[in-house]
Amino acid sequence: MKRSYIPVLILCAFLMMSIVFTQYMVHQYYFENYVTTLIFCGLNLLLFPAALYVYRKGVKTDA
């Protein structure tokens, strides 16, 4: 069984990005920059399927 920790690191980075985007989104909402809010909402939504994809890939390699 050969494990790769690269997917773990990528997922950590993704989660960090999720946190940063969420924080930024909330602040931009209160600053009334609604387009920026929408952009970061979209990025957050994209991060989840991307994370799922990385997880699937990571699980397959250690089977």
């Binding site: 494990r3 920790y5 997917p7 773990v8 997922l11 950590c12 993704f14 989660l15 999720s18 946190i19 985007f21 969420t22 989104m25 909330v26 909402y29 209160y30 600053f31 009334e32 920059n33 609604y34 387009v35 809010t37 929408l38 970061f40 909402c41 979209g42 957050n44 939504l45 991060l47 989840f48 994370a51 799922l52 997880y55 990571g58 699980v59 250690d62």
Partner: protein, 174 residues
């Protein structure tokens, strides 16, 4: 172990045969990645309402014109005093401060840090939030000290026939 599986009835005096204590709470690499993906999912879902309200504002649904609301009479508020009122909704606390004979300023007084009410300190000439000692400049609503980082939303006021009216909440000029 394998003998017990599908071998009913097994030893009835052993009630913990299916508990593998040694590995029960082990967090392996796969489990950790699962947690990370789940957390990313939670963040994605939680950003949905923000996107929804932002889209609503963008489509102009949030730009309602509120009817002018009477705050107080000019004769009832001395120079340097403040009056609390609600604008534009019944639950949006706001404060009106008379700075001079003809200069009035009004802000929604929920502190931009954690929404505590902001009070006008006449002696110090500044607006203060008692929760975490956030201070705001009275002329502009810009935070000058403490945790808040965003100015208080300003309310446009007008004076007509000796009465002070709230007209609308000004938008931020970013």
């Amino acid at each position: 172990m394998s003998k017990r599986n599908n071998n009913i009835p097994f030893d009835q005096d052993n009630y913990t045969h299916n508990i593998d204590r040694n590995n029960e709470r082990k967090l392996d690499r796969r489990g950790f990645m699962k947690t990370l993906v789940g957390a990313a999912g939670v963040f994605a879902v939680s950003s949905l309402p923000w996107g929804a309200v932002a889209a609503k504002e963008l489509m102009g649904l949030g730009e309602k014109e509120y009817p002018n609301k009477k705050i107080t009479d000019v004769s009832k508020i001395a120079i340097g005093d403040s009056v609390d009122f609600k604008f534009p909704g019944d639950h949006d606390d706001a404060i009106l401060i008379r700075l001079s004979e003809s200069k009035y300023v009004a802000y929604q007084n929920a502190c931009t840090h954690l929404r505590c009410p902001v009070f006008w300190e006449k002696e110090d000439g500044e607006m203060i939030c008692p929760c975490h000692h956030g201070k705001f400049d009275v002329n502009t609503g810009v935070p000058t000290a403490g945790p808040p980082r965003r100015p208080l939303p300003e309310i446009q006021v007008k004076v007509e026939n000796g009465t002070v009216f709230a007209v609308k909440v000004k938008r931020y000029e970013a």
